[in-house]
């Protein structure tokens, strides 16, 4: 059974349709990349999968391990194993990174029928995983993303992903605005997490990140539709030819 199956998904904001019928199937262990120019609907796709209120679904369906994802609340989707690394993570002053993660982890454990994690065990885990994302331990007691630089926020997203161990992680333009060192840290975090049961959906504008996280499949999203699918070579072709090539090819659609 596929992990995620999107069938003819049409969605948008208010009455405006942005996604015009998306079809995509992701199996356990696969890494998919979705590339596309600005305004093609990449972030809308990430938002509809995680259950953002503003996004309206007009048609189609999405199954996650056979369950109808679209009728679940965002927190239920997360507890099932869906994770979104946000393009613009919010700052939440006064809620510490550590408390936030402990609560998130415990809510997931509760859903799985497990007891809350022991505080000592939690902090041990926290410190171990922080090293992988190259997060300084002092970050953990600070307010969630409070005063973090762009790069720190992205690393914190990856850190949360590592802590929460999702089945499917969606990275929404996690590479944008990152310098090469931060990009490598992000990629390392993802690569360490890769296993036959875990899948990734990497949304990006640039091919650069895919040098470090090698995808199994690459899809091109343009004007709310997946217009091409291929392997990692497609990303290289896109990089060489640029998005104008896609725009010309599919302008009439």
């Amino acid at each position: 059974m596929s992990l995620l199956k999107i069938t003819n998904l049409k969605a948008g904001i208010e009455e405006k349709e942005i996604l015009h019928g998306i079809n995509l199937e992701i199996n356990p262990g696969e890494v998919h990349a979705i590339m596309g120019p600005n305004g093609s609907g990449k972030t809308t796709l990430a938002s509809v999968l995680t259950g953002k209120k503003e996004i309206k679904v007009f048609d189609g369906n999405v199954e996650f391990e056979g369950k109808n994802l679209l009728e679940l609340a965002p927190e239920e989707r997360a507890r099932l194993g869906l994770f979104l690394a946000f393009q613009y993570p919010v700052e939440i002053p006064g809620v510490s990174n550590a408390n936030f993660l402990r609560l998130a982890l415990n809510e997931k454990r509760k859903y799985q029928g497990l007891d809350p994690i022991e505080p000592a065990q939690f902090f041990k885990l926290l410190r171990e995983k922080a090293k992988i994302a190259k997060m300084d331990a002092s970050f953990l007691n600070r307010g969630l993303n409070e005063g973090f630089s762009g790069g720190e926020k992205k690393r914190n997203e990856i850190f949360q992903m590592i802590m929460l161990e999702p089945k499917l992680a969606i990275l929404d333009e996690t590479d944008s605005g990152l310098d090469i060192d931060a990009l490598k840290i992000v990629a390392e975090g993802v690569n360490q997490m890769r296993d036959p049961q875990r899948s990734f959906l990497i949304i990006t504008h640039y091919q650069r990140l895919l040098d470090y996280i090698v995808p199994d499949f690459v899809h091109v999203l343009y004007n709310g539709k997946i217009v091409m699918s291929g392997t990692k070579e497609l990303a290289l072709e896109l990089e060489a030819k640029g998005y104008d090539w896609i725009k010309e090819e599919f302008a009439t659609n």
Binding site: P74, E75, A78, R79, G94, V95, L103, E107
Partner: protein, 422 residues
């Protein structure tokens, strides 16, 4: 007797031997010439007295009060250890229940015997024009005097205002606190209701900080549904003194706290913290007036409100910098969260600055819980309800973390943890 009828009876209380007190004759004249304030008065624009107006009170008389022992007092929830308790039960000062400590003196004096009416006693027109200050002056026949003796430190005193009366009661506590030179004290006013009938407390308090006195002051108003109160508190600060107020108002029907801080000498500092949380039809009114009279003083206000249901919050923070008060630093922040569509907040900064070399700032913001923040937490598996609680907790803790009296802070946190946090 209703609130607006009380002043008609002042002549009965008014005694010739008090006329030598200027303030008392002023107050009696004031009441004769003025009616209860209403929304036409700028300082009462949003503070409706409707929840008090129609109550039929008896003025606190020699009603029998059930017997308390000092031990009973210490058994009341959340009383900090190593703290002297000063009980005022249904308006009556119970001196026999106080543990004597030679670092301070406490006594109750007949108003007519007072001799501390100095020129600084009411240095400001604002309080003299306050109806409830004048009402207190006219009705309070006694004053409680607390004096912290010079060069003493680590004093902890809790004034316990207990409402326990069979009939609807109107009380007028009047308290004067003086910290002598080089003292360091924590003093709290805590209000507790054991009564099923209505009580209205109209308190006036004057707090004097002499040179190099440090006071950490608390007002705790927790679940006072038939204990409505107005607290007019004047703080007079002398050289190098530091005053911190920490006000916690939670689910209480009608509360008005009016703090007036006067920097009478240089190099004094005042930090005013407040957290107010309204529920149901609560009305919580925070009025502040900081008068920078002398140079080189610092004041900072941090007030936060969470207004739920149909409750109303008011924040009115005035900073007045006199021409002589150069090098003044005066700051103010008020933030409010509304969790329902019918909750209201009226917030108003008032800055009047007559000196050139000053730093002043204010910031007011009222909003609802941020949807982006909620979604972010939900996307990590946290339920919407818990996410909301976590955000409210973070908002409230920003103020509570400033409360330096650890036992009080912790008891307040556990108090609200039912609503907030996890």
């Amino acid at each position: 007797m209703k609130l607006d009828e009380i002043k008609e009876n002042i002549d009965i209380l008014y005694r010739d031997d008090c006329t030598k007190l200027n303030y008392l004759s002023h107050s009696i004249d004031f009441l004769k010439n003025n009616n209860l304030p209403n929304s036409k008065n700028e300082l009462w624009k949003y503070t409706s007295l409707s929840s008090i107006k129609d109550i039929d009170f008896v003025l606190a008389k020699d009603e029998k009060i059930s017997d308390w022992s000092t031990n009973d007092l210490y058994k009341i929830n959340d009383i900090p250890q190593n703290t002297a308790i000063i009980p005022i039960i249904s308006g009556k000062f119970k001196s026999n229940l106080i543990n004597i400590d030679d670092r301070f003196s406490i006594e109750e004096n007949e108003i007519k015997d007072l001799n501390h009416e100095s020129k600084n006693y009411h240095p400001n027109q604002s309080v003299e024009a306050d109806y409830f200050y004048n009402l207190n002056s006219a009705l309070a026949l006694k004053e409680i005097n607390l004096k912290i003796h010079r060069n003493t430190e680590n004093i902890q005193i809790l004034f316990l205002f207990i409402a326990q009366s069979e009939s609807n009661t109107f009380v007028s506590p009047r308290i004067r606190i003086e910290l002598e030179e080089n003292t360091n004290a924590k003093i709290a006013y805590k209000f507790i209701n054991f009564s099923k009938s209505e009580i209205f407390s109209n308190l006036f308090s004057e707090i004097i900080l002499n040179q190099n006195a440090l006071l950490d002051f608390y007002i705790i108003e927790n679940e006072l549904n038939n204990f409505q109160s107005i607290n007019n508190i004047n703080i007079i600060q002398n050289r190098d003194s530091k005053f911190t107020s920490n006000i916690f108002t939670y689910n209480s029907k009608f509360i008005r706290n009016f703090l007036r801080v006067y920097f009478a000498e240089e190099n004094a500092e005042a930090q005013l913290n407040g957290l107010f949380m309204g529920y149901n039809d609560n009305l919580i009114d925070n009025h502040i007036l900081i008068e920078h009279i002398q140079p080189n003083c610092f004041s900072n206000q941090l007030y936060k409100g969470i207004l739920n249901d149909n409750s109303t919050g008011i924040f009115n923070g005035a900073i007045l910098v006199h021409p002589h008060a150069q090098k003044t630093n005066a700051f103010q922040v008020n933030r409010n969260l509304l969790t329902s569509e019918s909750a209201k907040v009226y917030t108003k900064p008032e800055l009047e600055i007559y000196a050139d070399d000053v730093k002043c700032s204010h910031g007011e913001a009222t909003g609802v819980i941020d949807e982006e923040m909620l979604f972010y937490m939900q996307s990590r598996g946290i339920s919407e309800e818990n996410a909301r609680r976590l955000l409210l907790e973070a908002f409230a803790m920003d103020v509570l973390n400033k409360f330096g009296w650890e036992e009080i802070r912790n008891s307040l946190i556990s108090n609200i943890s039912k609503e907030l946090g996890i």
